[in-house]
Symmetry: C2
Subunit: 583 residues, 2 copies
């Protein structure tokens, strides 16, 4: 047990932010810190197989808990994790990267120290981190308390990664425990005049409108505005979500229309979004993959609610916190409905099979709608050879409220994209950064963030090769996960884009079921091979019956079978990559 020092100060701050796990790989510049973690009352160390896995795990943890921490050693360790940090930046996830560096005296001597480039410059890696983090600090004995507070505060406020570089001697330097709570960054409050202007503008936008709809996205969750969104939708407003924002709304209500992916959307969602007189955009960021390569077609009048500002036409109102803006819109919609000006019929009534917009676009759409899939349709025979369509049907049928489902950015994410999930399921993807292999370690973090929920990861075999080693960590930490590996012999997400039968899209054929036992000789992890929908369902049933264990389901599907939504997006991606230079 150490006396109060810089590390224990940091740990106390993290504990107060509800962090109880730190992910990482030990290195000689972090070992003293690890002693303090081991000795801490509530924060525990989770050693991972490698640093990229640890970074992804911290990201998964942060998505459930609100803050995740990865701790690595200088140079070799931090650079191995930096892809995960960049991903957290892109996806608005607050991950703190704590890096242990050579002691201050070692750095001052500027000699060729291991884990450096040998050039005496100890600043290379902090400069690299600055490109992909929101806030950075190099701790000294003098600035430690202030800088720890600043970095944690800004990481939480921005929902983006922070970077703390701690020399080995500074980590162990005496520092009294925090004497007061960490002051949160004050959300910039809206002043009364701005709010009044916003209210007027929203009312004006709704004036004369006979229909209104909401498109919601991931930033609603990141900004903690889910409650306000829920209250707005509870009025009966028809709504859709982006694929990124799956599960920020309750998908079981009738006025939920499904995911909106621009021209790739199914007709119901497309009509709700595109045919509304007024569309409320709640925390929406249109990215290439989430918009069918920017094929969204929005109504003329939109109310675009961002994290701190709301835009209506060419006017911008701010600062207005997202939750407050959603409240203003809800009030206005409720007034309009009460006054009989606005009908909120739910999605069933608002969908028209002959929607004018859909018809007009059909001839010119750059992106084919999802109904033009390439793969076999789901068979009703549960013993038929497994297909992508049947796989996602049977997986969806296994889900229940409380599950945490993480889908890797290949056939899994897009295959699940068109399935509704029960209320209370958390669905996590990484569609902007789209780093394959992310999900397996992310599941480790998400599962440790809330041990009460059933953790499920859906991942292709090509993606799972990138981060397979954390299977061992999942088993060691007794995470009772379902790890469903889609075995189709390679990168089918790439095959859909280019090189359909090219050898470079094939991978080495591993025995996934055997890997479970090799990574965990204790028998906690078991493998199951499934070639039919019935066998997938059976593997889930046996997993639940065991009660406490990890199950790797190797689900075998044809290599060229692609979920319809992915097929449509992949064609658009291929087109974008072929685009001639404008330069």
């Amino acid at each position: 047990m150490s006396d109060a020092n810089v590390t224990t100060y940091l740990l106390d701050r993290l504990a107060a932010a509800r962090v109880d796990r730190i992910f990482g790989v030990p290195g000689d510049f972090t070992l003293a810190m690890l002693d303090d973690i081991d000795a801490h009352a509530t924060v525990a160390w989770v050693g991972c197989a490698n640093e990229l896995g640890a970074g992804y795990a911290a990201d998964g943890y942060a998505r459930i808990r609100g803050l995740g921490v990865v701790c690595t050693t200088f140079g070799v360790g931090e650079l191995s994790a930096i892809n995960a940090i960049a991903g957290a930046y892109a996806e608005h996830v607050p991950v703190l990267h704590v890096v242990g560096s050579p002691a201050t005296a070692t750095q001052a001597a500027a000699r060729a120290t291991h884990h450096t480039l040998g050039d005496g410059d100890f600043g290379h890696f902090a400069r690299m981190a600055a490109e992909v983090t929101q806030v950075q600090a190099v701790l000294t004995v003098e600035n430690a308390a202030e800088e720890i507070d600043r970095v944690i505060r800004e990481t939480l406020a921005a929902r983006r990664p922070g970077y703390l570089l701690i020399p080995a001697d500074v980590a162990a330097a005496p520092l009294a425990a925090p004497s007061a709570d960490l002051a949160a960054v004050e959300a910039e409050a809206a002043d009364a005049e701005v709010l009044a202007d916003l209210r007027d503008a929203v009312a004006a936008a709704l004036e004369g409108a006979s229909s209104v709809a909401v498109l919601a996205d991931i930033l609603v969750q990141r900004m903690g505005a889910e409650r306000a969104l829920h209250d707005l939708l509870a009025l009966g407003v028809p709504h859709a979500v982006s694929l990124w924002g799956r599960r920020v709304v309750d998908e079981s209500v009738p006025h939920y229309a499904g995911p909106y992916v621009g021209a790739v959307s199914e007709p119901a969602a497309r009509s709700v979004v595109e045919d509304a007189d007024v569309l409320v955009l709640a925390g929406v960021q249109f990215t290439d993959l989430m918009s069918g390569f920017f094929s969204q077609h929005l109504p003329e009048t939109t109310i675009d609610i961002g994290p701190r500002r709301t835009r209506i036409g060419d006017r911008e109102f701010g600062p207005v916190p997202m939750a407050e803006a959603l409240g203003v819109v809800a009030d206005a919609i409720d007034d309009a409905r009460a006054a009989g000006r606005l009908v909120l019929p739910g999605v069933a009534a608002s969908v028209s099979a002959t929607s004018a917009t859909a018809a007009a676009d059909a001839a010119t759409a750059a992106v084919a709608p999802v109904t033009a899939g390439t793969g076999p349709a789901a068979s009703d025979d549960p013993d038929a050879q497994l297909t992508q369509a049947a796989l996602w049907d049977v997986v969806s049928a296994q889900l229940r409220s409380g599950d945490v489902v993480i889908a890797d950015q290949g056939t899994a994410f897009y295959g699940m994209g068109t399935h509704r999930m029960p209320a209370g399921v958390t669905f996590i993807g990484q569609p902007l950064w789209a780093s394959i292999g992310y999900t397996l370690p992310a599941l480790l973090g998400a599962a440790l963030a809330d041990r009460s929920r059933r953790p499920i990861v859906l991942i292709g075999d090509g993606a799972a090769q990138l981060t397979v080693a954390e299977l061992g960590t999942l088993a060691r930490d007794r995470v009772p996960a379902v790890v469903l590996v889609v075995d189709n012999g390679g990168y089918t997400v790439e095959r859909a884009i280019h090189g359909r039968t090219a050898a470079y899209n094939d991978i080495a054929g591993w025995d996934w079921a055997a890997l479970a036992a090799a990574f965990d000789p204790t028998g906690f992890a078991l493998g199951a091979r499934a070639t039919t929908a019935a066998e997938v369902a059976d593997a889930f049933a046996r997993h639940d019956a065991r009660g406490d264990g990890l199950t790797v389901i190797q689900a075998v599907v044809p290599p060229l079978d692609v979920p319809p939504l992915l097929s449509a997006l992949a064609e658009a991606a291929a087109r974008a990559n072929r685009a001639a230079s404008q330069g």
Copy 2:
């Protein structure tokens, strides 16, 4: 088969530089390039499990072939490989990192594209790469030929990594094949006057000296000056090497004294280096781990031969290429010997057990000599429980001329550090960058760089967890390697520094022998568990008898058993990390 384009131009240039393999992971921004690689007459694609593995493989390949290439996709792919690129920079290894990026038009639109941070800035990752590469270029249709040539040329000349960012449309743009050979960077030649001055200064340094010795290091190999060093040592000059420079000299000659590691050296090497009247430093870079934490104690007169400049006392001579400077020194030593002024007795005569230097330092040495080991000594009984001492003895006894041996930066590297190896063995470590896990993928690259040699990797279980997935790639590509995993339940290299029995230095217990079969159901890879020296020897024998197969030897040793050399260095490392701040 594509018509001549930017990618085929690049491939032709690489082929001319003797590159016949490109390592990587496919991504949608590189797929068009991969078609051209597939179609190329001599360059082939090696798909790896992940990008870090691909980067390490390219490094291992470059150390044997003179140039290695890794190809990844924008953002997610390149950042996963960047630790390997930084390692190649630190260790003077010419690796070219080819990155496929979004098309020029996509970048110009500055929209939220997958594999970006979503902020419209496509320059983040190139700026990060600039911190750890020697030369960088972003290709356009206009500059492609010129920039490809410049980057390859400077990568080769500096023996350090280059970075080529190629937008998807540029990769496919027409470009005629190279019409002339790539002009090499002209080595700056020494002019006659500088050479004459150097000759005089060397002669003056040797004037009155009765003994001379050479300390050689890795840069001799990197600068292609091994032949000149060999000619110098053939005169009978006593010599030592740094641990980094193992095998730049023939270790089987009697006047080779062993590795010099400052105060941690064994007495013979220490005496040869420290007691010489004149010491020739051939390509030496003193790093913390290679110098016993800067405990080297050099004679007053040194001739310090760097890649392009030679320093004697406070005078510097240059430009003089390393090989030429070694030639000048050899001539001067030969003259002095012919004139009877210098005796070159070989190491046996020059070692004195009561060496004045050694005696003087013994009382004050900050670092204990290696004889103060902590582990059990090697037993003569081949059936005794395996120890570190016995393990490296038996492994050394298995080596034969032509082997490529790669030792990870833990007990393997330091355990082998005190063993002589047969002539014709190449020994590869990564002691400056010291990124654990490096060796397993590096072996893939080294083995594919020269299929005629027996590839052997020596790696701890903690390190092997970081990059284990490339076991599958080794088996898929039918690399007949010996993969010796030191199973001691964790990071013993860290235990030696700090946290001897701490839980954070333990790892999940994997079944390494079973992993071989799980990663390769074809039976090419087999596992063998060894708990005695006899079983290790037997596993090697059975590997050779099989003729064509990969053998994973799980060598079980006690967790707290540490090779003596590592033990001494670890104590010094712990001291450096505890050093009080000077700030």
